[in-house]
């Protein structure tokens, strides 16, 4: 028995129990933090007991949804999985997840046996170096790289540099699962000694030839300018360098014949046939491809992949639907311009006439990013002709309201930072049967969801199985 690990596990578990007794819900980081203080090797020692290995999912957007879809596929395949699905994707959150599965001696106890279990870890971009080092993953999926919380991460280039540095750590036999459509992700293959599995969208009908603001402009290899023959969104698309030979690689796992419906999507993956999933938006098809590609790397059979994709449930706040006093609230979490612009386009495509009721919530706590400037990179203008009623909320509700005013939206029914009063205002201005799209930042979503839970409309954090 590793006494130091056992002590760390027990200290972490005690800290977790204390927060639960105090009623501080969602304490997904503290146990791991305490355990890592007591034994900095805890993540490595616990994680490496997972006999089927570990996989990491990272990137700016889509980490949670991709991990969810993969977990659903693995459940269909009968693979026992330890997954940090309930929250923190920093090293401490991964450690918390492992602690919860560990006995008092520091041995993992997983149904089906730790020897047969797989670790599935959604990994924060900045935590990748630590996770890659400690968890020795057999595969790492990179979804995309967009500008996000620049006050926290610095420049987009800083994150790209961090990823390249992180790739010095994992075993060289590990498979990189890379988004062929994102040149910033694709360049990670340069110099990688192990296998690479590419995934990408292959339906030009959903791509545009319009130029737009993109975060990936120049080739790191030669300094040449990237050209985008077609883009699905942001810099995701058919890219090629005008200075050298680099271009979008042909995907190993591709989505063809994509069709999008208000609450589902269908697409064909060569070799697997047509898949259907209860999530929509081109960005979610890309997330599903990342999960399917990982599943193929792990050797999961086609039937389990199809059933897993079909059976996935929306993650907390990601196209989650909530019934509230007869109103149907659909929550579309938005954390950065790329994600928000995808939601805007989804709402634009699925709104008939001027029938859109939308509550946009902007908060500026640490987890949201303290700088709210990014809202000016979001194309709220596209929705202006569709809005029937709107509300502005979050800790920076006034900034949100100003952004909407300058985007040409009608005056908000309420500008209300307080989630209790915001929900009251939504109730007062709608009738049973109405639909309202809620577009919140991360902590604004947590606040609003807590109030919905208090009023009995939503399940509690971590109880969304």
């Amino acid at each position: 028995m590793d006494l130091r690990l056992a002590a760390a596990v027990n200290a972490g578990k005690a800290a977790g129990m204390a927060t639960r007794l105090l009623g501080r819900g969602g304490g997904t980081a503290l146990p791991g933090l305490v355990a890592l203080r007591a034994d900095p090797g805890a993540l490595r020692k616990l994680g490496r007991q997972l006999g089927r290995g570990r996989v990491l999912v990272t990137g700016t957007n889509g980490k949670t949804t991709t991990s969810r879809i993969l977990a659903s596929i693995l459940a269909e395949a009968g693979v026992p999985v330890v997954h940090n699905r309930e929250g923190s994707n920093l090293a401490r959150g991964m450690a918390s997840t492992l602690l919860a599965a560990a006995g008092p001696t520091g041995r993992l106890k997983v149904r089906g046996g730790a020897d047969h279990a797989l670790g599935l870890f959604e990994t924060d971009e900045a935590s990748l170096p630590a996770a890659a080092r400690d968890l020795a993953p057999k595969a790492i999926a990179f979804t995309n790289l967009f500008r996000d919380q620049l006050d926290r991460y610095g420049e987009v280039d800083t994150v790209a540099a961090l990823w390249r540095e992180a790739l010095a750590a994992p075993p060289p036999a590990a498979t990189l699962v890379l988004n062929a459509d994102d040149p910033s992700v694709a360049e990670l293959a340069t110099g990688w000694p192990g296998p690479v599995h590419w995934f990408g969208l292959d339906d030009p009908a959903f791509a545009t030839t319009d130029p737009g603001a993109v975060d990936a402009r120049w080739c790191r290899a030669c300094g040449g300018t990237f050209a985008y023959d077609r883009r699905y969104f942001a810099h995701i698309g058919y890219w090629r360098c005008t200075g050298c030979e680099r271009a979008r690689p042909a995907p190993d796992t591709a989505a063809e014949s994509v069709s999008l419906w208000p609450e589902s999507a269908r697409f064909t993956v060569p070799g697997l046939g047509e898949l259907e999933m209860p999530l929509t938006g081109v960005y979610n098809v890309s997330n599903a491809l990342a999960a399917v590609a990982l599943a193929r790397v792990l050797g999961v059979d086609a039937g389990a992949i199809a059933r897993g994709v079909a059976g996935v449930k929306a993650a907390f706040g990601r196209q989650e639907s909530v019934e509230f006093e007869g109103r149907r609230l659909r929550i579309f979490l938005c954390k950065n311009p790329a994600g928000a612009n995808q939601v805007i386009r989804l709402l634009q495509a699925t709104t008939a006439g001027t029938s859109l009721n939308a509550a946009t919530l902007l908060s500026d706590r640490f987890a949201d990013g303290q700088d709210v400037s990014w809202t000016w990179d979001v194309d709220y203008e596209l929705l202006a002709p569709l809005v029937a009623k709107c509300w502005a909320g979050g800790t920076r509700a006034e900034d949100m309201a100003l952004r909407l005013k300058y985007a040409g939206w009608p005056a908000p029914t309420a500008v209300e930072p307080d989630p209790v009063r915001l929900l009251d205002a939504v109730l007062a201005a709608t009738t049973p049967g109405d639909e309202v799209a809620i577009v919140p930042t991360y902590t604004a979503m947590i606040d609003l969801r807590a109030e919905l839970t208090r009023r009995g409309a939503a399940t509690r954090f971590g109880e969304d199985e």
Binding site: D151, D157, R217, S373, W376, R396
Partner: protein
């Protein structure tokens, strides 16, 4: 004269394809909104590297910030456009340069290894990067300026030092400012403003947006032009929310 008949202004947005980080596009959105609300037609021309640029064809100039790598790439092109732009700004052309744009409107940017990126010298200042170990200046800013209180958010690694006689844009009440030492923020010369403030700057500080628009109109139509006021309740509320946030975070940091 409140406004001439069919007033129109032309804005040159410099390097919008690269110098566009931190939502600086909001400054163009604000200028357009506040012009159109008064019946002023605003034509926006995007001027990128390699494009011909004659400042005499424009009434306003705007430039945002970018990442270090991006800034290096446009610096050479900006230096070629520099002499004409500097002369026009000397002649009263209104301009707003934010963050990386502000740095390049100075004489030079010196990186931590002593490498020099030349600027165009609209402002009498230089920027030095203290090295990769130094913290970036990141956080809320509140300034006292001759346009009144100004709020925004700064995020910069370089430290900017004004030469003697160069007026700042404002004095720092909350935040770091040009260099976290001397209390100065930004620079101002005639109708040109340089600043580190994002936010975006102009939507929450409508007095500055209007000052730029008014200066442009007067230069084109005569000194008796006046701007009709707008209902700025939403702008004022967002401004106050940003100022409150800056106060609260600065108190929390002090505790």
């Amino acid at each position: 004269m409140p406004l001439p008949a069919n007033p129109a202004l032309r804005l040159a947005h410099l390097y919008p394809d690269v110098m566009n980080i931190y939502g600086d596009r909001g400054n163009v959105i604000a200028l357009r909104f506040r012009c159109e609300a008064r019946g002023i037609a605003l034509e926006v021309a995007e001027v990128n590297a390699g494009d011909a640029f004659d400042p005499a064809n424009y009434d306003l100039v705007l430039m945002g910030g970018g990442q270090d790598r991006e800034q290096r790439r446009i610096a050479e092109d900006l230096v070629a456009k520099g002499p004409a732009l500097r002369e026009a700004i000397d002649g009263g052309l209104p301009a707003l340069a934010v963050c990386g744009g502000f740095q390049l409107f100075g004489h030079r940017y010196v990186d931590h290894e002593g490498g020099v990126i030349p600027g165009i010298g609209v402002f009498d200042l230089e920027t030095r990067h203290p090295g990769p170990r130094a913290d970036r200046c990141i956080g809320d800013v509140v300034l006292a300026t001759e346009y009144g209180e100004v709020v925004g958010f700064e995020n910069h690694g370089g430290r900017t030092y004004l030469a003697e006689g160069q007026e700042p844009f404002g004095r720092v009440r909350r935040g770091f400012g040009n260099n976290a030492e001397d209390g100065a923020e930004g620079a101002r010369t005639k109708n040109a403003i340089g600043t580190y403030l994002h936010g975006s700057l102009l939507p929450k500080n409508p007095a500055i947006a209007d000052a730029l628009i008014l200066a442009a109109l007067r230069r084109r139509y005569g000194d008796d032009v006046e701007l009709p006021p707008l209902d700025d309740a939403a702008e004022t509320a967002a401004h106050r929310a940003a100022a409150r946030t800056a106060e609260r975070r600065s108190r929390a940091a002090a505790e």
